[in-house]
């Protein structure tokens, strides 16, 4: 048995964007012929690592070697000529071209332009052109989509476009193939086809590195898995070992949260009382990707419900669908007895349905004061606005200190508080919060969620979407778990806190 050769060796890779360390001293070595999974929670640096490996982003420090040769500061087109191919999170096919033409572009990867030869129709050039087309057709057959070869790329279904993108990458004759979330938005059948294809690719001698959020898929495909968190390598091991790794579990589900699970006052909707919000068979798409599948649940008045799940599960899309930012593909949403699935955001705000978006969404060049007052844009009651303004600053004393500062200059935690303060000015009856813990230290997460709990106790209904399961389950009454667009678990928060199935929803298995 031959000793496995290292095909890719990245050492001590660091990438800083301003003050943020997207990658921090990551060592990443892949053996030839491996299928390597690359996973990690939101913002852990996976795509940045891909971008560094493929030359789109220059590392701040560190070195990268391909088959023993240094490729550290090479440009993307040079790297693809050296044998590294990739696909992207957002598919970018050449939309107006046919499938065959798309792949032919890839097949000519290492050829030279040869303007004179092209114009003079030299036989050597013509022979090359034929060779490109033949290569393209071969890859189409390999991937299994040769029937589509004359279709225009943009007319294809999403899953088919993904396959075209993979065939295109293969046509560059790579040694390594980097796949960035190839299974996003695919249905189970498509995912099986994809998994079989990836194995076929490996059998052909190509090393595969795979970023994926579908844990079951990664666990079944990968030989080894590397886990990143906050830009650092957290663990690197076989799939089963990773699933049991304590640090990994904590990174995904959250740990170190010192809060007491509150006594749940509710056990779901009591008989006779109408829920304040209910979703029925909601199907949602984000662009071409079918993200939400048949979501049905309801929230009682005054409840605090959490919706937890891994990255890419569809949580943000769900909130955006509820708050009017995205229209659902099918299904209905009722709020206070009215059908709202096609209502615009501003009409919903008037009715007290307020959404604190992912990533805070504050207005960076407006001051703290102006940001807060924008929340009251639709209100006309001057006295009420002034009173609420004071109340909000009492809740968040740190904002009062920074009242004249520009929103963009606040720290992550302060921005989150600002976003919530702003939302409160809209007089919410139902407050939707999208991942308030993102990018915050554990202490700040506690602070923020404490405030959310206070807001809830003032009599509002809260729907909290979170990746950090432990933190969310510590404050909520009841929770749902969402996995790849479907609701898979439901229960009271304290029950779920101790339910091992939650871990499985995050880490497959």
């Amino acid at each position: 048995m031959n000793r496995p050769v290292d095909i890719l060796r990245a050492q001590n890779v660091t990438k800083r964007f301003g003050g943020v360390h997207a990658l921090d001293g990551v060592d990443f070595t892949v053996a030839k012929g491996e299928i390597r999974g690359l996973i990690g929670p939101n913002g852990s640096g996976k795509t940045t690592l891909f971008n560094v490996l493929t030359g789109y982003v220059a590392p701040t420090s560190g070195s990268i070697e391909l088959l023993g040769r240094s490729v550290t500061s090479k440009k993307p087109h040079e790297l693809s000529r050296s044998g590294i191919a990739r696909t992207f999170q957002h598919i970018e096919l050449f939309k107006g071209m046919t499938v065959l033409e798309n792949i032919t572009v890839a097949a000519q990867c290492r050829s030279r332009a040869r303007l004179f030869g092209v114009l003079a129709r030299l036989p050597a050039v013509n022979a090359e052109e034929k060779a490109f087309k033949d290569r393209a057709e071969k890859e189409l057959i390999f991937v299994g989509i040769d029937t589509l070869k004359d279709s225009i790329a943009q007319d294809l279904a999403y899953g088919q476009q993904r396959l075209v993108e993979i065939a295109r990458a293969l046509a560059t004759d790579p040694e390594i193939l980097l796949l960035d979330e190839p299974a996003a938005g695919m249905n189970p059948t498509e995912k099986q086809t994809l998994a079989a294809l990836i194995r076929k690719i490996r059998d052909r001698g190509i090393t595969v590195i795979l970023i994926e959020h579908d844990m079951k898929m990664v666990v079944n495909l990968a030989d080894r898995i590397t886990v990143l968190d906050c830009g650092k390598k957290l663990a690197e091991d076989g799939p089963r070992e990773i699933q049991e790794n304590k640090a990994v579990i904590e990174a995904y589900l959250g740990g170190n949260i010192k809060m007491q699970a509150a006594e749940s006052k509710y056990a779901g909707v009591s008989a006779g009382e109408k829920p304040v919000l209910s979703l029925n068979n909601i199907d949602g798409c984000y662009g071409a990707v079918h993200v939400l599948k048949n979501i049905t649940f309801s929230v009682a008045r005054g409840e605090f419900v959490a919706l937890i799940g891994a990255n890419g599960a569809g949580k943000t899309t769900l909130l955006k669908t509820i708050s009017g930012m995205l229209p659902p593909r099918s299904g209905s949403i009722e709020y206070e007895g009215q059908r709202i699935e096609h209502m615009s955001s501003d009409r919903l705000v008037r009715r007290g349905l307020v959404h604190v978006p992912e990533g805070r969404g504050i207005f960076p060049a407006l001051t703290v004061r102006e940001n807060i007052m924008m929340g009251a844009f639709l209100r006309k009651d001057k006295a009420g606005i002034a009173a609420d303004y004071e109340h909000v600053l009492d809740l968040f004393p740190r904002l009062r200190e920074r009242i004249g500062q520009q929103g963009g200059s606040l720290s992550g935690g302060e921005q989150q508080m600002l976003a919530i303060a702003r939302a409160l000015m809209s007089k919410p009856k139902l407050l939707l919060l999208d991942e308030p813990s993102m990018g915050l230290s554990p202490k700040l997460v506690e602070e923020v969620l404490e405030v959310v709990r206070k807001i809830h106790e003032e009599g509002r209904t809260v729907l909290l979407v979170e990746q950090n399961a432990k933190a969310a389950l510590n404050v909520a009454d009841r929770a749902f778990v969402i996995e790849t667009g479907e609701l898979v678990l439901e229960g009271s928060a304290s029950d779920l806190l101790h339910n091992p199935k939650v871990k499985n929803a995050y880490l497959g298995g």
């Binding site: 708050s323 930012m325 615009s344 955001s345 501003d346 705000v349 008037r350 307020v354 959404h355 978006p357 969404g361 504050i362 207005f363 960076p364 060049a365 407006l366 102006e370 007052m373 924008m374 929340g375 844009f377 639709l378 702003r422 809209s426």
Partner: protein, 297 residues
Amino acid sequence: MGFLSVLFQLIIGGLAIGSVYGLVALAHSMIWSGVRVVNFAQGEIFMIAASVALMFVTGEWGQTLPFIPSAIIGTIVSAITGLLIYLLVMRPTTKWGFLYVIAGCVGVQMLLQNTAILIWGSTGRPFPAVLPMTPISVAGLLIVPQDVFILIISLAVAGALWLFLSKTKLGTAMRAAAQNRPVAGLMGISHVLTDGLTIAIASAVAGFAGILLAPKFFVTPQMGSLINSKAFTAAVLGGFGNIPGAIIGGLLLGVLENLAAGFISSQFKDAISFIVLILIMMFKPGGLFDAGPGRKA
């Protein structure tokens, strides 16, 4: 006339013209930062406003009106024209790519210019000055009152706009929508409102600039084209999308041009704006006050 007084005159004159460049540049930057489109026919709005105002000042349309009501009518006409151009031409073409926006706007330019030729003829007509155009002596320096008038009024307009944008609820809402459109929607800030207001106000400002500058030069159907490239350079100088930067860029450009015309040659004047443009593009494409990467719509 000493060197200093010549210099002073050139600078004042440059500031006056520059302030007008600045207003049109402001219109470009405002529309870009708020609605993410560029109206290449902005210069024609400038021209239409001046022509319409002239029409009322000279009584071509029957009634002779004094300067202020004529100016108001001209400004309102520019706001309406700007909105029409946006709705009919820029909205559909923006979806298809910049090429089509330019093609559409250039078509609009030709249309407006030729319509102006049809209505008012292609020869230049003088616009009666509000203040004397002859220089008067103040403390030994020669100053043209009309220039001072233009400068002061332009800065006043820019100042009023700044007040509106920073102190009023509506103005703040417009800024919010420019910074984060989808989230502004979550606050109930309708983008139909903010887009419409942005275009109307910006076009009105550009039109008013035309009325201000009209007395210094003849009102011709082609005056818009001349102003267009200067205004663009000023906007790029200040950072495309940077509203106060646009005014400063305009003032700077006006002064540079006048100094070049005075000390080198008047033909060089027009070349200055091209040279400045290329230098900025190559060394500081975000403008002189580059604050970092721009926001993506």
